[in-house]
Amino acid sequence: MSDPAAFLDGNSLAGPLSEILSVEPTTAWWRCPNCRRSGTLAQLHLYGPEPGMTARCPGCAYVALRLVKEEDHIWLTLGSGSGAFRFRTA
């Protein structure tokens, strides 16, 4: 359903997420609320990095998280809805 050349694997989230998480993020377990598939953050399909990173379920493309980097902030939205967290990074 998706073109493997169009996305990276979720390991590419390690850098920006390590700026706001004090634990190793890529091994975090996640379960898709849409198709019920589960796996690690590293297995998500990652689109971007611009204008932001969008990590999606490898099974059904449901949005797992969005991450937008600004100069002094990182915005993190979990799931497909709205309600972002804005973290100050500088």
Partner: protein, 199 residues
């Protein structure tokens, strides 16, 4: 300084005057993606406008192509800082889709195949400033660039020109879309450099 031939439209604007702050010009047409590229055959395509009262109007591909077609040459500006001059589009003005619709709504959410959304003021979609575009540079719009049809609102940053558009929803409330809810500016005027919230 490079400038266009005056042609029939009087004194040209120098390219540097057409470049919003913080942007650089590009000859290429970069593809930015937030998910898998939807492949929507035109025979399955439809476009629906839904008013705040739930009234709907829908067009099939053939019905859309039967509406008055307009050719537009315009500059486009991506929030990732590239701008592209004199892009050539063909499509249908949103004024044609909205003709005769009764609404008191001030806000619109554009919905796309694949789940993308973006929010815009209704006023920005009126007056010949916004289109459903199906042709780019003389060719059918490719899926990578939003084909078979995308929203084209060139006076705002290009994330507002939703690829693979399938509908517009009018609303009294302003609901932020996919990128607007994740840190990007709610309006996105390139001339005021409205990239992120707070800009």
């Amino acid at each position: 300084m490079t400038s266009f031939s005056p042609g029939f439209r009087g004194r040209p604007r120098a390219l540097t005057e057409r470049l919003p702050p913080g942007q650089y010009p590009t000859e290429s047409f970069p593809v930015l993606s937030a998910g898998p590229t939807p492949r929507v055959p035109t025979e399955n395509w439809s476009f629906t406008v839904t008013t705040e009262l739930g009234e709907t109007r829908s067009w099939t591909w053939d019905q859309m192509m039967a509406l008055p077609q307009q050719d537009t040459v315009t500059d486009i500006h991506c929030v990732t800082r590239w701008s592209k001059f004199d892009t050539r589009w063909r499509g249908v003005s949103l004024d044609a889709f909205f003709e005769g619709l009764e609404t008191t709504a001030a806000h619109v959410v554009a919905d796309s195949y694949g789940g993308y959304t973006t929010n815009l003021p209704l006023a920005d979609l009126l007056g010949g400033r916004a289109w459903i575009a199906h042709t780019y540079d003389g060719y059918a719009l490719s899926p990578e660039h939003g084909g078979p049809a995308r929203l084209l609102v060139p006076h705002l940053y290009f994330w507002k020109s939703a690829k693979w558009v399938r509908g517009l929803r009018f609303a009294h409330e302003d609901d932020p879309g996919f990128w607007e809810s994740a840190g990007y500016h709610n309006y996105g005027d390139p001339w005021r450099e409205q990239r992120h919230w707070g800009d």
